[in-house]
C-alpha cells in the first residue's frame, strides 16, 4: 500500500480512529498488524524476508545481551550484520552480478541464452536492513537496551510509514515511543496533517509532474540536444527532493498523527551555501546513519593520519552511500564525486572561514546567493550519474551539454508550465521558511481562517494539477 494510493487514504482514517480508541498497551500490536498488513499487500512473500531479518536481529542481539565477552559480542554483531546484508546484496546486486557473469560467458563463448528469470527487489529492503543493522550496533555499543519484546522490535523494523523509503530511524528514538503512554495531542495531530498535505503537494504536484519531463529527456538522451539535457539536469534535483522529501513528510505526518515523532529527512537543502551544508540538509536520516556507523568509527580509527584520515573516511562513506543506491559504476562514481566535493571543502574550510570573517561575507546577499547557486549546480551535475542507467550515458549527457545546443524541448506545454508553477510554490515556501521564518505563514498563520483556507486551497491545487496516475516514489528502487 503506497501513500499516494486511495487504498491508503481509506485505510489510514480507520487506523487513526481504532488506534486512539483502544487502550494504550495494545496500540503497538495494532501498529504491528497494520505494518505487516501494509507490507503483505505489496508482495506477500517479501514479508517473510522482513520477518527473517527481524528474527535474526532478535536472536543475535539477545546473544549479545547475554554474553559478557566482548569478542563474542562482536562476533554475534558481525554475524547478524552479514546475515541481514545477504538478502540485500542478493536482491540489489543480482542484476549487476548477473550481467557481469553473462558478459564473462559471452567472452568465453559459452553463453547459451535461456528465458530470463525476473527478480524484483523487495521494496524497502535497503531501509529496514539499515535500521536493523543500526539497532544491532547500538545494542553491541550499549547505546540502546536489548528489546526483550520481539513484537516491539518487529514493529521498529516494519513500522509502515517508514518501511518503504525511510526516514531511516534509530531504535533509541522509536522503541521508547512505541512503549510510552500516549495521549492524543491536538497540535501533534494538526501538525501531522499539515506535513502530510504538503508531502502530497510535493509528490503529486511537483515531483510527478517533473518526472514526465525529466524522464522524456533522460530516456532519450540520443534524441535531445544539450539545451534540453542541461535543463532536465537542473530539474532532476528538484524532482528528487520533491519525491523523497514529499514521501518523508507524509511518513513523518502519518507517524505524528499516531503520536510518534520521527526525525526529519530534509531541511530546505537548496538553501545550502556549501556541499557540506547541503549534505547536512539532504536525506538527513541516511547521512546521519552513515556518519554514526561508518564515518565516525572509521575516522576515529584513522585519526593518526589527521586530514588524510578524514578524507579517506569521507571518500569511503560516500562510496558506501553510492553502493547503497545501486551497484552500478555510475552510482559508485556518484558517491566518489560527493566524497571529493566534501574532501575539497574539508581541506579548504579554514581558509574559507578566514575569508568569510575578514570580509563579513556571510552577511552579504550576493555571497549567499552565489554559494546557493554554486552548490546547486555542483549537486545537479553530479546527480546526472544517479539518473542515467550507466556511466557512458552520463558522459554522453555531459558531452552533449557542452557541445550541442538548439531549442529547448518543451513536450506537452501544460506539463512544462505546471512543473514550473509547482516548483516555484515549493521554492517560495522553502525560501520564506529559511530566510523569513516569521513572515508569510500559511499553515501556521495566527488566523484560523487563513490556516483552513490554506489547507483547502492546497487540496484543490492537488486536485487541479496533481498527477494522480504518476509513477512510484523514486526511492522505492533503492
Amino acid at each position: 500500500m503506497v501513500f499516494t494510493s486511495l487504498n491508503f487514504l481509506i485505510f489510514f482514517p480507520f487506523l487513526i480512529i481504532l488506534y486512539w480508541i483502544i487502550p494504550n498497551k495494545n496500540r503497538w500490536i495494532l501498529l504491528l498488524i497494520s505494518s505487516y498488513f501494509f507490507y503483505i499487500n505489496l508482495k506477500p512473500v517479501f514479508a517473510l524476508l522482513l520477518a527473517g531479518v527481524t528474527l535474526s536481529t532478535y536472536f543475535f542481539t539477545s546473544l549479545i545481551n547475554q554474553n559478557d565477552s566482548d569478542s563474542r559480542k562482536k562476533m554475534y554483531m558481525r554475524i547478524n550484520i552479514m546475515l541481514i546484508l545477504l538478502p540485500l546484496f542478493f536482491f540489489k546486486y543480482f542484476s549487476t552480478i548477473n550481467n557481469e557473469i553473462f558478459n564473462l560467458l559471452e567472452w568465453l563463448h559459452i553463453r547459451w541464452p535461456l528465458p530470463e528469470i525476473k527478480l524484483i527487489l523487495p521494496i524497502g529492503i535497503s531501509f529496514y536492513t539499515f535500521m536493523a543493522i543500526g539497532y544491532t550496533i547500538d545494542v553491541y555499543n550499549e547505546d540502546v537496551e536489548f528489546e526483550k519484546n520481539i513484537g516491539i522490535l518487529a514493529l521498529f523494523v516494519s513500522f509502515f510509514p517508514l518501511i518503504l523509503s525511510g526516514p531511516i530511524e534509530r531504535a533509541k528514538n522509536m522503541i521508547p515511543q512505541f512503549k510510552s503512554n500516549k495521549k492524543i495531542d491536538y497540535n501533534m495531530v494538526s501538525e501531522g496533517f499539515k506535513l502530510m498535505l504538503w508531502g502530497y503537494f510535493m509528490k503529486l504536484v511537483v515531483a510527478d509532474r517533473m518526472d514526465i519531463y525529466v524522464d522524456a529527456v533522460f530516456k532519450n538522451i540520443s534524441h535531445h540536444n544539450g539545451t534540453s539535457l542541461f535543463y532536465a539536469s537542473l530539474l532532476y534535483p528538484f524532482q528528487m527532493y520533491a519525491d523523497l522529501g514529499g514521501y518523508s513528510l507524509i511518513a513523518i505526518g502519518t507517524s505524528k498523527i499516531l503520536g510518534i515523532n520521527v526525525m526529519h529527512n530534509f531541511n530546505r537543502p537548496f538553501s545550502a551555501t556549501s556541499m557540506s551544508e547541503f549534505w547536512r540538509r539532504w536525506h538527513i536520516s541516511l547521512i546521519t546513519w552513515l556518519t554514526d556507523y561508518v564515518y565516525t568509527p572509521l575516522s576515529f580509527n584513522l585519526r593518526k593520519y589527521k586530514i588524510g584520515g578524514i578524507i579517506i573516511s569521507l571518500m569511503f562513506t560516500f562510496l558506501i552511500s553510492g553502493v547503497w543506491h545501486g551497484a552500478t559504476l555510475n552510482f559508485i562514481f556518484w558517491g566518489l564525486i560527493q566524497g571529493m566535493f566534501l574532501s575539497f571543502e574539508a581541506l579548504t574550510i579554514k581558509k574559507k572561514e578566514l575569508l568569510e570573517t575578514r570580509y563579513n561575507l556571510k552577511k552579504k546577499f550576493l555571497y549567499t546567493i552565489g554559494g546557493i547557486s554554486f552548490t546547486f549546480i555542483l549537486f545537479a551535475f553530479s546527480q546526472v550519474f544517479s539518473k542515467v542507467s550507466n556511466l557512458s550515458d552520463a558522459f554522453v549527457v555531459y558531452y552533449k551539454i557542452f557541445t550541442t545546443s538548439g531549442s529547448l524541448f518543451i513536450g506537452q506545454p501544460s506539463t512544462f508550465i505546471f512543473s514550473i508553477l509547482g516548483l516555484l510554490m515549493l521554492l517560495l515556501k522553502d525560501f520564506t521558511d529559511e530566510f523569513t521564518p516569521e513572515k508569510f505563514l500559511l499553515f501556521n498563520n495566527k488566523s484560523k481562517m487563513v490556516r483552513i483556507l490554506s489547507f483547502s486551497i492546497i487540496i484543490i491545487i492537488i486536485l487541479l494539477i496533481g498527477v494522480f496516475d504518476g509513477g512510484q516514489f523514486i526511492y522505492f528502487q533503492f
Binding site: 486511495l6 491536538y186 495531530v189 508550465i417 483552513i452 483556507l453 483547502s456 484543490i460 487541479l464 494539477i465
Partner: protein, 322 residues
C-alpha cells in the same frame, strides 16, 4: 477517578476539535471542488478547437460515413481530402494522441448510440501487454463519464475506486485547465491545423532508420484483448466495414508479438488486417516521416491513397456499394 474524568474530558475535547476542523475543511473543499469543477466542465464543452474539442466532436457530433480510430499515428496518417475524393463519402479522423483500445472501444460505443458509420479504419496502436499507463490514459474520457452511460464500465476498469474519485467535480478535468483555457481562445485555431480531425505534420526526419527488438515485458492484458475483440464484433454486428491497419513506421522491428495477436484476432473475426510495418516504400524514405513513429503530410497523403485503393478493392467495399 477525578484524574480519569479530566483525561477523558480532555481527550473528548481534542477529538471534537479535530473532527470540527476536518469537517470545516471538507465542506470548504467540497464547495470549491463543486464550483471549480462545474466551471471547468462548462468551459471544456464550450471549446471550439484543440484536442478536447476534437474528442467531444467525435463523441457527440460527428456523423461521418468513414471514421478513423487510433492514437497519434492515426491522427497523423489519414488525410480527409484523399478519403473523401476517393471513396466519395464523408470522413472524420477520431484518432487521439496517446490513447489506445480502451479509448477506441468507448468512443465506438458512444458513436453507435447516435448513428452507424459505413467504414471504420482502426489504426493498430500496438501493445496487448499489461501496462498501467494504458489505464491512466483513460483520463481523457473522464469528462464523458456522467453523460455517456455506455462507457462507464470501461472507465471503471481503470481502478476499483474510479467511482469514488469521480465524486469530485474537478477530478475529470485534472491537469486539463490550461488546455481548456487555450481551447476557448480563437488563437488556438491558428496554432494547430485541424482538418476533420486530421492533424498534419510538416517536418522531415533526417536520421537513419533504427532497429528495435520488441519483447513482451509484462503479461498479456485480457482486458485489452477483449476490448479489441469487442471493437471488431460490435462493428461487424452493426454492419460496418472494418479494416485494421498497421500504418508505416520508421523503425525496423524484430519480434513483434503484438502484431501476431492482432493478426489472429482479425482473422478469427474475418476482418482484413493490413500490415505496413515493413513496407519498403516508406521505410526506404525518411522524407515521408516527421519522426520514427509519425509520417509527415507528404507520407500521409501517399499512404491514404494506398489505403483508399485497398478499401475500394476489398470485397467489403463492394458490399457497401451494393
Amino acid at each position: 477517578m477525578e484524574d480519569n474524568l479530566f483525561i477523558s474530558n480532555f481527550r473528548h475535547m481534542v477529538i471534537k476539535k479535530i473532527i470540527i476542523n476536518v469537517l470545516i475543511i471538507t465542506i470548504i473543499v467540497f464547495i470549491l471542488d463543486f464550483s471549480i469543477g462545474k466551471t471547468l466542465r462548462y468551459f471544456y464543452f464550450k471549446e471550439t478547437s484543440g484536442l478536447h474539442y476534437r474528442t467531444t466532436y467525435s463523441f457527440d457530433s460527428t456523423k461521418a460515413e468513414v471514421l478513423i480510430f487510433g492514437g497519434s499515428r492515426a491522427n497523423r496518417h489519414y488525410v480527409p481530402q484523399v478519403f473523401e475524393d476517393s471513396l466519395n463519402m464523408s470522413f472524420y479522423n477520431t484518432g487521439r494522441d496517446g490513447n489506445g483500445i480502451f479509448y477506441q472501444i468507448s468512443l465506438l460505443k458512444s458513436i453507435l448510440k447516435r448513428y452507424t458509420p459505413k467504414v471504420i479504419v482502426l489504426d493498430y496502436v500496438g501493445g496487448f501487454e499489461y501496462d498501467a499507463e494504458s489505464y491512466d490514459r483513460m483520463s481523457s474520457i473522464l469528462p464523458y463519464y456522467g453523460s455517456h452511460e455506455e462507457i462507464r464500465k470501461t472507465i471503471e476498469s481503470k481502478s476499483p475506486y474510479e467511482k469514488v474519485k469521480l465524486i469530485s467535480q474537478i477530478y475529470p478535468f485534472n491537469s486539463k485547465i490550461l488546455t481548456i483555457a487555450i481551447g476557448n481562445m480563437e488563437i488556438n485555431k491558428k496554432r494547430e491545423i485541424d482538418d476533420k480531425g486530421y492533424v498534419p505534420l510538416f517536418t522531415t526526419w533526417n536520421e537513419k532508420i533504427d532497429s528495435q527488438n520488441i519483447e513482451l515485458i509484462n503479461d498479456i492484458d485480457s482486458n485489452k484483448i477483449n476490448a479489441f475483440r469487442d471493437f471488431l464484433i460490435l462493428s461487424k454486428k452493426s454492419n460496418i466495414k472494418v479494416f485494421v491497419v498497421f500504418s508505416p513506421i520508421y523503425l525496423k522491428m524484430k519480434n513483434t508479438p503484438g502484431i501476431e495477436i492482432c493478426y489472429n484476432l482479425c482473422s478469427s473475426e474475418k476482418i482484413p488486417f493490413w500490415n505496413f510495418s515493413e513496407d519498403t516504400l516508406f521505410q526506404n524514405n525518411n522524407k515521408l516521416f516527421s519522426d520514427i513513429q509519425h509520417m509527415n503530410n507528404n507520407g500521409a497523403i501517399i499512404f491514404s491513397k494506398i489505403i483508399c485503393e485497398k478499401i475500394k478493392n476489398s470485397y467489403q467495399y463492394s458490399s457497401i456499394k451494393k
